[in-house]
Symmetry: D3
């Protein structure tokens, strides 16, 4: 499990992404929590759904960025949010770039470029996927709460989870979500 030379090696290794759990949920006792490939599908879906409402965004490109934005976690696992404060700045990002370089085989170049674009968060597509990454988090948190989870309130208090990256359509969805949740909590 080092450098993949062929597409087949990459494809086989990626099947494992289903077993990498989102650690934020694990550490708060959510049973059978979302995997990285589940999260990634939802982010692709959100990018597709919202791109159609935003003129400046190329939907295909946004979907590509969403598709690969967490690819490296098949080798690093999902570092819990709290863990980030214990690593030097950029350590996680550097590690992920190195993973993608070794992991992605014949796709390493394209995947690496998309990951770099995602991190820079300058293109409209990258900004949209950044927004979708958090929006999907809060959608899932809301659903887990409706199912019975009680340990997730701190997510609602973290402003980092509510950035719209300049897209009014994202802002509106957050507002609708918060309003819906306020209704359920009554």
């Amino acid at each position: 499990m080092r450098r993949n030379e062929t597409l087949l090696e990459l494809l086989l290794e990626l099947q494992t992404l289903d077993r990498v759990p989102r650690m934020g949920y694990v550490l708060r006792g959510v049973p059978d929590p979302e995997s990285i490939s589940e999260h990634s599908w939802h982010v692709v879906f959100l990018a597709w759904a919202l791109a159609a409402r935003i003129d400046e965004v190329d939907p295909g490109r946004a979907m590509e960025i969403a598709l690969i934005h967490d690819l490296a976690e098949v080798r690093t696992g999902d570092l819990p949010m709290v863990a980030k404060r214990y690593f030097v700045d950029g350590a996680k990002e550097d590690a992920e770039s190195s993973v993608v370089d070794e992991l992605a085989g014949p796709l390493a170049g394209r995947a690496g470029d998309l990951l770099a674009e995602y991190r820079a968060a300058e293109t409209p597509e990258a900004r949209l996927v950044k927004a979708c990454d958090k929006l999907q988090l809060m959608l899932k948190v809301a659903v887990y709460e409706r199912w019975g989870a009680r340990g997730l309130t701190e997510f609602w208090d973290n402003p980092d989870n509510f950035r719209d990256y300049g897209f009014p359509v994202v802002r509106e969805l957050y507002e609708e979500l918060c309003a819906a949740r306020a209704e359920w909590l009554k």
Copy 2:
């Protein structure tokens, strides 16, 4: 849980797709089997990876088709393959079309068109996603076998799981996969 009127309603309901297991694995005793959203992510990934190698395929369109090809299962569950012989022809397809119409809210039109294109299997993009749907199945089966599953041999005996839909790149991947499996089985 009937007709979704808003994008938010759709997005919340789709989170549930993570809990819909792929029944073929369930019925053969695979522990913690792949969900529909996991399967769907892998099919999007395959479509993206292979589209770049096939001139006639528009990668963005192939990804869109892959993204939504199993959307209806959030309301129908995943009907096991064996079940299909007990329903009249087209019953499953008609049901899925009706689901997408009620489920997808403001995206119902686009999603319905993509689903119809997928079923017709005439455009290069639809044919590619059909191929990826089966190719991903066999990749996952191979991985489960490497992990210890023994009840999956009948998948290898079913020629329906090895159709290349006219794409040599798909054919080659199947051949590499079968060769790799033969190696592991030694």
Copy 3:
């Protein structure tokens, strides 16, 4: 996995029923939800317990009907309630009859007759099992709620889940259950 010729083939295939989850719970986030064989055991138990209180019911016959009422789901899976509106009337019933005919081997005749009797819901035994099928649903829902599930309220709002099929003893149990739940909710 087509037509079982021997009792042994049937018995081996039925072991799989433990892995078929009740989809109503799955889609509402219940962790480790009830399987079809678990549900079926509880319905047999209820039929046995209540038959003793109802003169017109033959307990052994009621138990037989309860035992086989969901047998076909080992091949179809458990179609979620919401899915039924997307299939033509009778499609599910026809499919299940065909399954039982192929599945049950030397027992196909007896099992098919019991299933037909269950569906007709005319004999006292069939009506009782129909009632027990729903009563067990609401007992399990109540228990899941006591354990922490929050996503199950719509079950309490559906009058179809509270039909007594003419048996006062069923009516009384529903009333006691609702009273007990009202107490817990305080």
Copy 4:
């Protein structure tokens, strides 16, 4: 959770039987192992299926005994087979009788009588259920092995798991099962 006074209390407590795992499988690493209510459903099914082939057995009575034969485990859990050598003879049986007496509420008398009949193993119905209890064990073991479990071989070496209690139809099923397994192992 002491003496149940009403049928409702009993029915609610019994829902918990789904969470009591069969310890023999747990201790040998079977993932998602059978629960007591799953096991019990299969034993009822076997009793029903075989009773029709044995003149001297009353099917309804055999089903009743099968239905309740492990009822007490909702309070004691499933004591692993190996554990029994560490308790004085009869300790487990006495405990189970006391449980049923307190657990079964208005059904305590009937359930207690059936349990006593099961233990005495003198009536044809009790002997048949004793046989079905072991036969179902070996059917499930065979299925788990087909799915990939490797830690279950000692079950096949234990003659206690192959007693026919004088019923040729049981003996034949064991022989067919062992022959089928020998075929798979090739």
Copy 5:
């Protein structure tokens, strides 16, 4: 799986302790409940943490007692608390002593002595571990409740779960825990 003769046999069998669930949680619907080895680690940790605050306690000895206090459950499973009233006094203790004698191989003498000391609850170390066994229970119950479990209230009503065994530091921790829980429940 009878008398272990070597250390290796013991070590291999003990790996299984991870699969033995704490039945009190199982029977109250806690998803993915604590295993005996998890519980045991937490009790060792508590013993280590508190021993440093109590002059009369030898930390190493307290850790040893905590380490082995539930060792026998690898063969008996975790008998639910409610089950104990159905066995004669001392039956569980006698069984556990016999298990440790056969299980622990070359360590049987040391483990047996530590278990006897634990049961007698006379030395400061044994009393401390008795206290930690219950304190850990209530810490875990509190955490499960914060995560969403609702079926655990009866633990808070049982005075046996709040004995300090004469250690003020234990008493203080209980008081802090109850105060913290009262805060969360608001």
Copy 6:
């Protein structure tokens, strides 16, 4: 979840360690894989069992080191072995030291010293725990293989998993384990 000020805060947070899975098993498809607290209990047990056979080792001190050696993973998760090559040397160790400092509250000093001793691997107790950490890995791998896992062979090929740190008793256990496995594989 930042700096714990009290022992109670630490104790509550540590309960979460049960949910942190050992990623090496996760990524190789082991169902219900060992948690960090389970692993840690086994390492404490090994340290206790082996310390009695090695004159120069203080058993209590070895147990303390084993107890806390993976404490930080409650905040970082378990970084898969393969991930380490993507981080700069010492990044993981520095992060863990910072975690323990913030996590361990009033025990931060003691826990930090023990962790530093473990890493330096100079004292006999630290070397023994290093050895036990790997020995327990291979014991668990062997057990998972007996249960049916097939994806773990690469562990046996990695010489890092078989270092005896100068203790003949560790070397002997490895040899016995490999001999036993060779026997099972026949």
